[in-house]
């Protein structure tokens, strides 16, 4: 019954092959530099922070939520997300959007907000004392 092992081995190799293929197809890179994000139309996970000073809006007609994000270097971009403002959004310290850059905005399929609040909070107090 050595055939059994050959068949078994073949199936395992096939499985691993499919997995590796799908992994490379569906894997998404994290990117915290928006200049790079803007230069490609590949799907990425862009990490940055919400620009609270700039306007954000929710267009209920088309169910689009628009806001601005900036990266560590201060590079900003407009993000358009199909859906409403996520829970916890206002208190988010960092935002991860999954999607790709179109002509002049980032189209997000998914938003993930990271809140310091849930497990350990450090209010972002300025260092100037009274």
């Amino acid at each position: 019954m050595k055939n059994k092992y050959i068949i078994g081995g073949f199936i395992i190799v096939l499985f691993l092959g499919i997995m590796v293929y799908l992994f490379t197809q569906s894997n998404i890179k994290y990117e915290n530099n928006f200049t790079v994000v803007k230069s490609t139309n590949k799907t990425v996970k862009a990490t940055g922070s919400w620009v609270k000073e700039k306007n954000y809006s929710y267009d209920s007609e088309n169910n689009l939520f628009k806001f601005f994000m900036k990266d560590e270097n201060g590079e900003e971009m407009l993000v358009v997300y199909r859906g409403a403002m996520p829970n916890n959004f206002e208190s988010a310290t960092s935002v991860v959007v999954t999607g790709s850059y179109q002509e002049n905005y980032f189209y997000a399929k998914d938003i993930l907000t990271k809140c310091p609040s849930k497990y350990q909070e450090q209010p972002n107090t300025q260092s100037s004392s009274l």
Binding site: F23, S117, K118, T125
Partner: protein, 797 residues
């Protein structure tokens, strides 16, 4: 302080107990009673320490950082009790508490089985020692005082009788963005308090509280059940290692089997409750998002279930006198892996490594904890794998005869392989963030559909196969009737259910096949011997679960609806009318009532939205209308009042900035607030905030003030009119961002669009057919595990 001391003692006792157990295993007969005493002392001390933590939480002792961070005065008793595991430190405490309790049962269980106790308990106490190290004062100690590391505390949480202390000034930090003042609590502040003769324990009178998403029933039940599953995962590991220690591989299988069954059953229940929580409360829209935290507890579960299948073969082949039995190595490897994967799961979710990838991972706990977690995993991996390699040759010496291709042994083994394949997929996807990658959800889904089909078919076929060998003809004659009925039922589903995807058809077919075969056998068993029912029940549950998944995910449809108050809208054949909102839970939340009408029947849905004080964010809770064949899931998105003037013709002027309106230059000069405004705000007294404005046109300049007056919860705004400038200025809002105004000319009708204030509720509605089968399926699986558990417990001697 006392809590830390108790925990440190527990750690010392646990180490002593481990050493004594090990010495006993090495032949020192008199150490066993010491080992037992010290083990029980460990458990008592852990229970006492946990009681202290609960006591501190219930009595609001905010001088403890943990109590301050995860509870506050307004939580109900049930939620206060669950604050225990609201944070990292406490969830480790819960894990330890449950592990020592499992250990008490394990000690009693092993002491009745010849020489089992010293080996198993030595390994088990080693695991407890590592966990206790984790909560020791060097790492994640829940009894840390708030003074130890500087932390910012909202001024509102400080005892107001100390607010006028002069030295407090230097610890105050205002945050202009949120209009709050923070006190930096640190050892320096503690020193100042003590110097001034103030009892530091009375300084902080309120805590931060729990995240609003955790404030519900599920928080009280999901984490404890999941952690019982985690705690019980230690047991198969301990049994496997103890078998390797003794170099004897026959008995441990039967002895470990009931523990594995109960552990995976409970872990599975815990995972499902998490899914239900996400579905019902958090509004994720589904029950499973392949979130890394969910995944990381699924991986050990899958491996545990795989181990159940191969252990069954080993047990069976032992009874047919084949020495230690088949798959001895596989079983050792899988049992060891279950616990290592639980540790890996802890590492993924606690080390901060998934920071950007998961909704609910913990934040970075610091380098020291990170290193400790790595040492923790490596030690147990080394112990398990090292011993296995050391004993490999002894294991190799017993190879029983090969089984035939068509035998139940091989199909059980194949099932384990498929489960491991599933675990590998989830493992790879979940671990991707470690190397800065991430996989799309489609990766999991596409990989799992074919696996689920194989599982379904195997699930039915394996039961038609006999142990050892079955002739092809026999198999065919047995299965043909089931296959025929399955084909007919699947065809009916295609015609009436509208299933058209080939993979879904295959999946449905294999699930129906499973239900038929298992159902038939289960029926026979019910008539004879209930004891043997477990496996069949679990497999029927799995098939029900898969049918539920097909219905609810592949055939769910969703729609975004703008519901204007009083005006019916149509969706999925239902007429939906938004009838208005009402405050609930002491006006902390708002329920938005929607009536759904169909065929003369009315259903009510009331999704909830509110602004959480905790994080000043808009929070939403979905509402689900549960019908026999489907759920209608209504997730609120936003609520707007159109026609409200704030949306038509309002302008925002930042402090110090000007705008131009009809040749009039309007400037927001500065804020005007009296000296006690801050204090009034904190104490909740009435107060007013003013904006000093100026308007100039053609060289004329007029100054005026606008006020925002707050009395109780009511807010009023003043307005200003000038005939000279033909200008009317109405204040709409005043905040740190600036002043919001509505501007109009006096000789024109008011800018306000008061024609008809429309209230619009925007919701995302979806229909999820047969989602209830998902819950029913999992519950049936769990019941199956427990029936099997009770049978295997009797066989474990």
């Amino acid at each position: 302080m006392i809590g830390s001391i108790i925990l440190t003692f527990a750690l010392v006792f646990s180490i002593i107990s481990m050493v004594m157990y090990y010495l006993n295993f090495k032949g020192y007969n008199n150490t066993i009673s010491y080992a037992r005493i010290f083990y029980h002392l460990t458990s008592i001390f852990v229970i006492v320490a946990s009681t202290f933590l609960w006591y501190y939480i219930l009595t609001h002792q905010y001088q403890y950082k943990y109590v301050f961070s995860y509870s506050n005065n307004s939580l109900t008793t049930g939620l206060l009790l669950s604050s225990f595991w609201g944070g990292q430190e406490g969830s480790f405490m819960l894990w330890i508490l449950l592990t020592v309790i499992v250990g008490i049962i394990l000690q009693s269980y092993t002491s009745k089985r010849v020489d089992l106790e010293p080996r198993v308990m030595a390994v088990f106490t080693l695991a407890i020692s590592f966990l206790l190290l984790m909560v020791s004062p060097w790492f994640k100690n829940p009894f840390e005082y708030i003074w130890t590391t500087p932390i910012f505390v909202d001024l509102k949480s400080i005892n107001s009788s100390y607010l006028n202390l002069p030295f407090l000034e230097q610890f105050l930090f205002p945050d202009p963005q949120t209009n709050t003042t923070y006190v930096q609590v640190s050892s320096t502040l503690l020193a100042s308090l003590v110097q001034n003769g103030i009892d530091p324990n009375t300084f902080i009178i309120n805590g931060r509280g729990l995240n609003p998403q955790l404030l519900n029933f599920w928080m009280q039940i999901h984490p404890p059940i999941l952690f019982i599953g985690f705690a019980m995962a230690t047991v198969p590991f301990a049994f496997a290692v103890s078998a390797l220690m003794k170099n004897e591989y026959k008995e441990w299988v039967s002895q470990s089997f009931p523990w594995l069954l109960a552990g995976t059953g409970i872990l599975g229940l815990g995972i499902m409750l998490g899914g239900y929580w996400a579905y019902e409360m958090l509004g994720w829209g589904g029950y499973w998002a392949w979130d890394p935290v969910e995944n990381s507890s699924l991986i050990p579960w899958l491996i545990g279930v795989a181990a159940i299948h191969t252990m069954l073969v080993q047990k069976k082949s032992q009874s047919q006198s084949e020495g230690i039995g088949r798959y001895a190595k596989t079983n050792l490897i899988l049992s060891i892996l279950v616990y290592i994967l639980v540790l890996y799961s802890t590492f993924l979710t606690r080390s901060g490594i998934l920071g950007d990838a998961s909704v609910h991972s913990f934040v970075d706990p610091g380098m020291l904890v990170y290193l400790f977690l790595i040492i923790f995993i490596s030690s147990f991996t080394l112990l398990g794998v090292g011993l296995l390699v050391y004993r490999w040759k002894d294991l190799k010496s017993e190879i029983p005869q090969d089984e035939s291709l068509l035998s139940r042994e091989l199909s059980l083994f194949t099932a384990a392989v498929v489960l491991c394949a599933s675990a590998i997929i989830v493992f790879v996807g979940t671990s991707a963030p470690i190397v800065g990658r991430s996989v799309d959800i489609s990766f999991y889904n596409e990989m799992h559909v074919p696996l689920a089909i194989i599982i379904g078919l195997l699930n039915g076929l394996s039961l038609l196969l006999k142990w050892k060998t079955t002739s092809t003809q026999e198999l065919l004659s047995k299965s043909v009737i089931y296959l025929a009925i399955s084909v007919v039922l699947t065809a009916l589903m295609i015609i009436f259910g509208g299933i058209n995807d080939i993979m879904m058809i295959l999946l449905a077919f294999s699930s129906i096949f499973t239900i038929l075969v298992n159902g038939e056998i289960a029926y026979k068993i019910i008539k004879n011997n209930l004891n043997r029912l477990g496996a069949y029940v679990a497999h029927i549950g799995l098939a029900i679960f898969i049918l539920g998944v097909i219905g609810s995910s592949a055939y769910s449809s969703e729609k975004t609806l703008n519901l204007v108050k009083g005006k019916p809208a149509e969706a999925f054949g239902y007429q939906m009318i938004f009838t208005g909102y009402e405050p609930i839970e002491n006006a902390t939340k708002y329920a938005f009532n929607i009536n759904l009408n169909k065929d003369g029947k009315t259903y009510n849905a009331a999704p909830v939205m509110y602004i959480a004080e905790f994080n000043n964010s808009l929070m939403r809770e979905p509402s689900i209308v549960v019908l026999p064949t489907k759920d209608i899931y209504i997730a609120p998105l936003s609520y707007e009042q159109t026609g409200d003037h704030s949306h038509s013709g309002s302008v925002l002027i930042e402090k110090g900035k000007s705008i131009n309106y009809e040749n009039i230059n309007l400037t927001f000069e500065k804020f005007e607030m009296s000296s006690d405004v801050m204090q009034a705000m904190q104490e909740g007294r009435d107060f007013q905030l003013g904006a000093v404005m100026s308007a100039s046109s053609n060289g004329k300049k007029i100054s005026f003030n606008l006020y925002r007056k707050q009395s109780g919860d009511k807010v009023e705004f003043t307005s200003f009119e000038s005939k000279e400038l033909n200008l009317r200025v109405e204040m709409l809002n005043l905040s740190a961002q600036g002043v919001e105004l509505s501007l109009s000319k006096l000789d024109e009708p008011k800018n306000k669009v008061e024609k008809q204030a429309e209230e619009v509720l925007v919701v995302n509605a979806s229909v999820k057919p047969f989602v209830s089968l998902v819950w029913i399926g999992v519950l049936v699986v769990v019941i199956g595990f427990f029936i099997a558990f009770s049978r295997r417990l009797k066989e474990s001697f």
